[in-house]
């Protein structure tokens, strides 16, 4: 029973006259980090949403291999099944943690929500697990009962990661997880995500416009331009020896510090 965890073929999606996705295919293997890079408007986030089943493509398929080996068409799943998947085996990390977190609920409550949604009904256990995950993402457990509104941007993003990983998903979608953070916070967060992802063997689809983030995190990189995948390969290969003119342009336009 082996094969890609997530696999997409011939995805196409248009928003009126705009082509957001045009014949996009991708394979994601268990435990692998795949970065989708490209300039803004190239269809990265659209691709992420289509892969996660949040957005229905005009054509093409996305298949997910369930833990029992059964392969399911993501867009043919009944909504309750897909929602359950999003609450348990999958995770979604958004660029803006404020949109994902419950801002009027304490940090512990935020982390515990997915556990309670999965049926946990023992307060003590939920709290222990939440405290453990706050430690994992380097948030002081003393801040557990504080509202996220009192947290810094970096802490909010780490809280979102704890909240997502608490059910031990096997697949996490990340949309610019380090966007909007200053460089030192970004580095620390990336380091944290990389450690957790490696240790837990989580497969990640990471959308970013930042090639440095892609190099640090990803094993494989997909370069997108105007809704098409123009280059696809091992991270080092794509970044050190770009073949497509657009990738060459992207790589050469990175500012060296």
């Amino acid at each position: 029973m082996s094969g890609p965890l997530l696999s997409a073929r011939a995805l196409a999606l248009r928003f009126g006259p705009i082509t957001a996705l045009d014949g996009v295919g991708a394979d994601l293997w268990p435990g692998e980090v795949l970065a989708v890079v490209g300039e803004s408007g190239s269809g990265k986030t659209t691709l992420l949403n289509v892969l996660a089943g949040r957005l229905r493509p005009d054509a093409g398929h996305v298949w997910y291999r369930e833990p029992d080996g059964h392969v399911a068409d993501v867009h043919a799943m009944p909504p309750p099944v897909l929602r359950r998947l999003h609450r348990s085996d999958w995770g979604f990390v958004q660029q803006d943690p404020r949109a994902a977190l419950r801002m009027d609920v304490s940090a512990g409550g935020n982390v515990g929500e997915r556990l309670m949604a999965a049926g946990a009904r023992h307060y003590g256990h939920i709290r222990e697990e939440a405290a453990r995950w706050l430690e994992e993402v380097e948030i002081d457990v003393a801040r557990m009962d504080d509202r996220p509104g009192t947290f810094s941007g970096g802490m909010l993003q780490r809280l979102q990661i704890a909240r997502t990983l608490v059910t031990r998903p096997c697949l996490v979608f990340m949309d610019e997880p380090t966007g909007g953070l200053d460089v030192s916070v970004q580095a620390r967060l990336l380091d944290l995500i990389r450690t957790l992802v490696r240790r837990l063997g989580i497969a990640v689809v990471l959308v970013t416009h930042d090639l440095a983030v892609a190099r640090l995190m990803a094993g494989r990189i997909m370069v997108m331009q105007r809704g098409r995948v123009v280059e696809d390969g091992l991270a080092d290969q794509v970044l050190d020896d770009p073949r497509h003119p657009y990738t060459q342009l992207l790589v050469s336009s990175v500012l060296a510090a």
């Binding site: 309750p80 419950r102 609920v105 409550g109 023992h122 307060y123």
Partner: protein, 277 residues
């Protein structure tokens, strides 16, 4: 009353309400939308309850109306007088004599019977309303029985107050399936709803929703395994009848800190005092 139909509402409206009620009884705890009418009563005073009462009451019924447990407050008196006038039905303040009881904020202390219907006035029928602002989304959550968010609220209570501190409108699970707002009755009354012999109907006029709990249906208050539901009451005896098990109101008697605790259910208190006398 001349110029008005029996029990104020026209027959078509009552049919519409009864259809909604039948659906509500068929799916315990599920909110059914209905076309609430303008009533000669402000929103928040029981427009939902009064419409439900109007469509279930018959000429032979005896009506009791309570507000916060009392039969003698403005709201209770006006609604009772309204039906005495528009339907000509007998009214009572005695729980045991009533066949239809319309209530705001309480369930009578005397256990209800199969021959009785209790109608609750509901301000906010959606238990998830404070957690999820979108009604489309709460409907989806009900449809899929996704009630994890409600426990987040309970978690917050324990984290902040060391216990579940919801004192009224304490969320319940009906028939093991639907999350339901029991209307703003004290949590103390929640256990009375569980497997109650009487039919329980809920009307929310402003929000235009009806829901119901048929007799002998499971109604379980949400809680945690290690923080079980507890029905709280003031730790006193009633100053009038001495009851130590009924739900008490705190009444301020002067401006020097004087106060007394009395039964909130006036009929229960009066009956106990009669028995002693």
């Amino acid at each position: 009353m001349k110029g008005y139909n029996f029990a104020y509402l026209d027959e078509q409206t009552k049919r519409m309400l009864r259809r909604a009620l039948l659906k509500a009884v068929a799916i315990p705890g599920h909110q059914i939308p209905f076309g609430a009418r303008e009533m000669p009563l402000p929103y928040g005073w029981g427009t939902g309850g009064i419409q439900v009462t109007a469509c279930v009451i018959g000429r032979d019924d005896t009506l009791k109306v309570i507000d916060q447990g009392a039969d003698d407050t403005t709201n209770a008196v006006s609604i009772r007088r309204f039906f005495a006038k528009t339907a000509g039905v007998a009214t009572t303040t005695r729980t045991v004599d009533a066949t239809v009881i319309q209530t705001r904020h309480r369930i009578p202390e005397t256990p209800l019977t199969e021959a009785q219907i209790i109608v609750y006035q509901v301000p906010q029928p959606e238990p998830l309303y404070k957690l999820e602002p979108s009604r489309a989304e709460t409907r989806r959550m009900h449809a899929l029985a996704e009630y994890g968010a409600m426990h987040v609220k309970l978690y917050e209570q324990v984290a902040r107050y060391g216990q579940i501190a919801i004192s009224y409108d304490y969320p319940v699970m009906v028939n093991g399936r639907h999350l339901m707002a029991p209307s703003p009755i004290p949590a103390f009354d929640n256990p009375k709803m569980h497997r109650m012999k009487a039919l329980q109907l809920f009307g929310a006029g402003r929000e235009k929703r009806i829901y119901a709990v048929p007799p002998y249906t499971d109604v379980v208050s949400l809680d945690f395994e290690d923080y079980p539901f507890r029905a709280g009451r003031a730790p006193h005896a009633c100053a009038l009848c001495g009851d130590t098990a009924s739900y008490l109101d705190e009444v301020v008697t002067d401006d020097r800190g004087g106060r007394m605790f009395v039964c909130s259910d006036t009929d229960h208190c009066a009956t106990r005092r009669e028995r002693v006398a």
